[in-house]
Amino acid sequence: MTANGATISNGPACPIPISEYPRILLAHGGGGKLSQQLIQKMFVPQFKNESLGLLHDGAVLRVEGDRIAFTTDSYVINPIFFPGGNIGELAINGTVNDLAMCGAIPRYLSVGFIIEEGFAMENLWRLVHSMQEAATYAGVVLVTGDTKVVDKGKGDQIFINTSGIGVIEKGVDIDPRRAAAGDAIIVSGNIAQHGIAIMSVREGLEFETTIKSDTAALNSLVHRMMATYRDIHVLRDPTRGGLASSLNEIADSAHVGIRISEENIPIAEDVKGACEIMGFDPLYVANEGKLIAFLPATKANEMLSVMKSHPQGKESQIIGEVVADHPGLVVMKTKIGGSRVVDMMSGEQLPRIC
């Protein structure tokens, strides 16, 4: 006890806030409900401060009158080389995208490598080369870094962490809480590419064509979008947990309802087929080069045509709208004309029996 009678919060006096799981499960990092629970019950209450708690892709900080976006992400993907990309390129694009989703112009990145003893130097060189290429494309510079090597068996080949800083221009106010009834929702292209590309390699499934990851930097597309209409309400890149989880997070943050139409959600035929075979719902499969944008419906068609003219947005579609009804819920009109709730992903998607 302290002098004023408060209990110092370490030791057994402070209960663990997530009592039903004595151990971390993979799903705690899967981007679904358990991840959200970990963040909301454990991290946010402990670390709480003015900039945290937005549940944004990055923090927005004020530095001497200017606004700066700051974000970090770790990459632990297996396999490290996959159709359409590799862990290095992903680590650059992912952090660039997190900054872009705050409406920032990405500028500086840091890189931390955790490498397993015995990792082939040639592979490291390939990754480093590919990271520099991705950075050049995105217009960011890698300004600081760190390398650690762990014992063989204590890491899965290589883990990469990148953090990034970007600058937010005046008049830009991207915030998940700004989703408002009357907004249209646009997705920038075919969903579920990345997750399916990775799963296909892991499961050794072969299709007529090789499904490639969509990993790409989106800052140039965002730049073009901002130039068209600066007051975009929300941007989000639906990575882990897929489109469904991102839409749920936004509906939750803004206390609005979201309605989407199954028919309008763009999915490539080969990805659709792979999802059928593996028993996955493409709405929950990860993307690494797509964004969703919320903006007033009156501006949606103009924005759509701008996005379609950009290489990263060719398959863009308006997929739905924000409504005042059913706050917090995402409801989808199904192809046959029924409707259903699209929930947050719960746990990891698991292959079904039959």
């Binding site: 409900k33 746990g347 029996i353």
Partner: protein, 371 residues
């Protein structure tokens, strides 16, 4: 996607919905047996297209849901051993046992691997001769041929480190158990298309006759299900009780004969416990004595593990079609996919999980809309 898009088209769905509306003159209760069908119905919102006289109840055909608690506990006991690689279909690993699930075994250091086919488990056994590889062989007649093939192959390869933990169940005895119960309210069945792809549909003919109940072998796409309902309603309205086949692109009357032979080679019919329902006579498949060396239950000596169901969970009542998931007091409160009390909340094919995920918006569930 060809052969899929046609069966998800709005036009075709409306066509059959119109037919159902024209045919229906009074209330009918139809049960879809298979969890895959339940999933489609709830996920695509088929009930919104039906006249209010047609009531769908969700049957016991989710293999994950009916696997008894004690088998899960046995799986956990085996998977926790240091010398074992435990392999399973994905959705079994999250089903709660008495105290934990298989995923927690993995988090505690157990070697648990999700496979797409039991033959992958055989491959793992060949690659890991110093480990004992166990496959969790659950499911209906649909998965039985592949599981039988795994044992057959393992025997042929002389593998001494491969076995299966078997909890196979059969559809017709479960339907008979429902029909013979006094509380039965099912007037027609949509029979499971994949089970019938393997077994054919001749064994359903005596059931239709004895209990005067129409049975329509039905596929899994929304248009399949609407067509199946239309065929069932037509029979009901005309006073017929026959076995008909909607899923002709997959099901033949005699089924897949070589697959049936393989099942008979490895398995024999046995009594089987169903989670939430209890023991149903001659309703399962067990490993024949000649293949006992592949029976994980015997090898690891876990026959004596037994377990009691949650007192709150009404899975049995739901699996028998007597109540809908949202009528359970624990639905969405104490029981959710993150914290399931019973198996129907775990499997993506389980009726409770399907209602939780997809139906919280619908007016009939308005009391749980606030979740």
């Amino acid at each position: 996607m060809r052969y899929v898009d046609e069966f998800r088209s709005r036009g075709a769905a409306r066509h059959y919905a119109d037919i159902i509306r024209q045919l229906t003159t009074r209330p009918w209760t139809i049960m879809e047996v298979c969890g895959g069908q339940t999933h489609t119905i709830v996920k695509t919102g088929i009930e919104e297209l039906l006249p209010k006289e047609i009531s769908l109840v969700h049957g016991p055909g989710c293999p994950v849901c009916v696997t008894p608690l004690e088998i899960i506990d046995k799986a956990i006991a085996i998977a926790s051993r240091d010398d074992v690689i435990f392999t399973s279909f994905g959705d079994m690993v999250r089903v709660p046992g008495s105290s934990k699930d298989l995923l927690s075994v993995k988090a505690s250091g157990g070697d648990l691997r999700i496979v797409y086919s039991p033959l992958d488990a055989v491959k793992i056994a060949r690659q890991n001769p110093s480990k004992r590889v166990v496959f969790f062989a659950v499911g209906f007649e649909t998965t039985a041929p592949a599981n039988a093939m795994a044992v057959y192959q393992a025997k042929k390869l002389g593998l001494q480190n491969f076995s299966i933990l078997c909890s196979h169940v059969l559809v017709p005895p479960a339907m008979e158990a429902l029909l013979s119960s006094e509380s039965n309210r099912v007037q027609a069945f949509l029979a499971p298309g994949h089970v019938c792809t393997v077994m054919g549909f001749e064994e359903y003919i005596p059931l239709a006759k004895k209990y005067r109940v129409p049975i329509v072998v039905t596929g899994f796409e929304p248009v399949d299900i609407l067509q199946g309902i239309a065929m069932a309603v037509k029979q009901l309205e005309e006073g017929r009780a026959e076995v008909e086949n909607e899923y002709t692109r997959s099901v033949r009357r005699e089924g897949n004969v070589p697959a049936q032979q393989l099942i008979r080679e490895i398995f024999e019919i046995t009594n089987r416990k169903w989670r939430g329902i209890g023991e149903i006579p001659v309703s399962g498949l067990g490993i024949r004595e000649e293949y006992a060396e592949f029976d994980a239950e015997k090898i690891f000596n876990v026959q004596n593990i037994s377990a009691d169901e949650s007192k709150v969970c009404i899975a049995g009542v739901i699996l028998r079609g007597l109540k809908k998931p949202h009528e359970c007091p624990a639905f969405g409160t104490d029981c959710s996919p993150e914290h399931p009390l019973g198996a129907p909340m775990v499997s993506s094919e389980g009726a409770c999980a399907a209602y939780y995920q997809y139906r919280r918006f619908s007016p009939e569930l308005k009391e749980v809309r606030e979740l």
